[in-house]
């Protein structure tokens, strides 16, 4: 079929409703009633002192995406953040505003794949990458000192197409389609102002699978997050996660720094290594999650005890190096990924989207990762292939917009 013929048919199909008597230019609105059973437990408040999606207990699915701006205007950037704020507020509330409105000749105002669905604890979290402060928007002097370019770590195999970006967005929900819908609406709203640089998708065990509420297991089969920061502990969150005006950047008060690393796991290699090797690599027992030499997951890491003074947990075990002396803490919110196969090897392209939040990466993520990159036994089985850092803005009130403390 010729292209022209196809176009003709499509045009005819588009016009068909009007032949049937609908006036061109009429506004058609479909409003979908929201099921009355919808409980508040299905929504995470969007507005507040902090952005949602940080202290929020991890949802089951996530999209992490980065955008590059295609404009040099600060007004455009402000406009984009305002648009995004409204979309995020609407979608996370899952409200009565779910509607198709506008002319039948226009594309629907909402793409529609979640009409009538629950918001499933949807959260949308926005952040600014270091490149936002490169001078295009006159923001250079406002770059937070803590928003460093991450240094190269030993063994990095970073791919530019999976790294960095002017703006970062973390979208989480207990349903993949709901999360994807939010990403899609953000991309649409950014048209002409910003383009997607990358988008990566992750998952965690759902409450249905993990009925016993164990610490979630990653794709190496180990519990991951046993010693994580308790995000319901407000005072700990203030110490570890939330930036403060006294840190030197007023506009980041109540915000947090997100470090993202895409960690490819060579799971084929991992799967043919012995249980003994796997447990010594991690430093915990696979089944129980207990530290080597202990029986319960909650037992403290026996870092320096053992027969003849030799450590029970090897010197190069992952938990030992990640823990260090315990002075660096981060809030981890990781998701696993499985992205088809690596075309070069036919092996599964799977691993971990490591996401963590902190008050200052220079004092938290970076020293931890430097230790791990240098000596971690796990390095034999993984490679860091993507990387990004974002200054996640403070929250906002109704009527305000995310990013206002920087852009107003």
């Amino acid at each position: 079929m010729k292209a022209g013929a196809l176009a003709g048919r499509r045009l005819a199909a588009l016009l068909a409703p009007f032949v049937a008597g609908v006036a061109v230019g009429a506004v058609v609105t479909f409003v979908l009633p929201r099921p009355s059973s919808a409980g508040s437990e299905g929504t995470v408040p969007f507005y507040g002192e902090h952005q949602a999606g940080i202290a929020t207990p991890s949802q089951s699915f996530a999209f992490v995406a980065a955008f590059d701006l295609t404009t040099n205007s600060r007004n455009d950037l402000r406009e984009l953040m305002k648009r995004w704020t409204l979309i995020a507020a609407r979608l996370t509330a899952g409200t009565d505003e779910q509607s198709v409105s506008g002319s039948p000749l226009s594309p629907p105002s909402d793409t529609g794949e979640t009409f009538g669905y629950e918001p499933c604890r949807l959260t949308v979290t926005f952040g600014a990458g270091p490149s936002l402060f490169d001078g295009r928007f006159g923001l250079s002097s406002l770059r937070p000192a803590a928003l460093v370019d991450l240094p190269p770590f030993l063994g990095d195999r970073l791919r530019p197409e999976l790294s960095n970006g002017d703006l970062g967005v973390q979208i989480c929900a207990d349903d993949t389609q709901v999360a994807f819908h939010a990403l899609r609406e953000l991309v649409r709203a950014a048209r002409g102002l910003a383009v997607l640089r990358w988008s990566q998708q992750g998952f965690r065990p759902t409450p249905e699978a993990n009925a016993g509420h164990q610490t979630a297991r990653n794709l190496q089969g180990f519990k991951d997050g046993t010693l994580n920061v308790d995000s319901s502990d407000a005072s700990l969150m203030n110490t570890v996660v939330w930036a403060d005006g006294s840190d030197g950047t007023l506009w980041m008060k109540g915000g947090s720094y997100l470090v993202f690393r895409r960690i490819r796991m060579h799971i084929e290699v991992w799967d043919r290594s012995s249980l003994h090797d796997q447990e010594n690599t991690i430093g915990r027992h696979k089944e129980t999650g207990a530290p080597l030499g202990s029986s319960r997951e909650s037992d403290t890491l026996p870092l320096f005890v053992g027969q003849q003074g030799s450590p029970v947990i090897p010197e190069d075990a992952h938990v030992r190096l990640a823990h260090g002396d315990g002075s660096e803490q981060i809030l981890r919110r990781p998701y696993s990924f499985a992205n088809g196969i690596d075309p070069r090897t036919g092996e599964l392209d799977a691993g971990l989207l490591f996401i963590c939040f902190q008050r200052d990466p220079r004092e938290q993520f970076i020293p931890i990762q430097e230790r791990l990159a240098k000596s971690d036994a796990l390095n034999e089985y993984i490679a860091h292939v993507g990387s990004a850092i974002f200054a996640c803005f403070p929250g906002t009130r109704k009527g305000g917009y995310i990013g206002e403390t920087l852009l107003n």
Binding site: P152, L154, G155, D156, R157, H266, E268, V269, R272, S273, S274, L275, H276, D277, N280, D342, P343, R344, T345, G346, E347, E380, A383
Partner: protein, 273 residues
């Protein structure tokens, strides 16, 4: 047996000069632990001697300004090393010193094969070529010296064979190892040869305990060799850049199919790192 072991420990280097392979085979067939580990030591020493000699030749070619010859020698020198890589990995910092890639070690400490590779193939920092070649010669000479006394165990050998294939699967087949010369398939072949040598030494034991596993491993070694032979011409292998993703995928999947039974061989030999 104990006597054989002592003799080989004390005189392995000299025996190599006398043509050791026949001796090693004989010791291997005796099936004692020491017989097997000393046969492997002899093999490692043989390869390491070749490594030292070849590195010296590389240094001479550079002194003479013969870059084409130096590039050829780079390949054969690499292969000698890659056959016995697990034993160097067991010796602390020697592997990163000899075989570290850019970004694997702190920039100030980066030396060894891949530093030389970058200079030879890109011309970058060519004034440092002699320095790094001399340094490599020191490092491989040190490796050779350590081989006489390094502890070798059956489980470690069996795991070493799996590690060689894991290396192939994670870095050689993705073209990350020889990123300037694109000669990854030479390393690939050498890693497989090194793993094959270990399996040959262990095979009588594997056969006795689990004949089906021995047969499966053997069959998959042959499949890998056949897959690799498609890219071999004389003693040369195709450059990585000339391979399609379909080519690398076929090779990688053959390696995975071999590494899995080989890891079971390691378990059978009591291996647990």
């Amino acid at each position: 047996m104990r006597m054989v072991c002592k003799i080989s420990l004390a005189t392995s280097a000299a025996l190599i000069a006398l043509g050791l392979s026949a001796f090693a085979e004989k010791v291997g067939s005796m099936k004692s632990d020491a017989g097997i580990t000393e046969a492997y030591r002899a093999y490692a020493i043989h390869e390491c001697n070749a490594l030292v000699i070849s590195t010296r030749a590389l240094a001479r070619a550079l002194t003479a300004g013969n870059l084409d010859q130096a590039k050829r020698l780079y390949l054969s020198t690499r292969m000698a090393y890659e056959r016995i890589e697990p034993i160097a990995e067991a010796l602390g910092s020697l592997d990163p010193d000899i075989d570290g890639r850019d970004g694997d070690v702190p920039a100030a400490q980066w030396r060894g094969f891949h530093r030389i590779e970058r200079i030879l193939w890109t011309g970058k920092e060519s004034e440092t070529l002699q320095t790094y070649t001399t340094r490599l010669l020191d490092d491989v000479t040190l490796l050779r010296a350590k081989l006489d006394n390094v502890e070798i165990t059956i489980p470690a050998l069996a795991l070493g064979a799996v590690d060689l294939l894991n290396e192939v699967a994670t870095s050689k087949i993705t073209g990350e190892e020889e990123r300037y010369s694109h000669t990854d398939l030479y390393d690939f072949a050498a890693n497989v040869e090194g793993a094959r040598k270990i399996f040959d030494l262990l095979e009588p034991r594997v056969k006795a305990k689990d004949p089906a596993l021995a047969a499966a491993t053997e069959a998959n070694f042959q499949k890998v060799s056949q897959a690799l032979d498609r890219y071999k011409k004389g003693s040369d292998y195709a450059l990585y850049m000339s391979l399609s993703t379909a080519d690398t995928k076929t090779l990688a999947q053959a390696v995975d199919a071999l590494a899995d039974p080989l890891s079971k061989v390691a378990a059978l030999m009591g291996a647990a790192k």
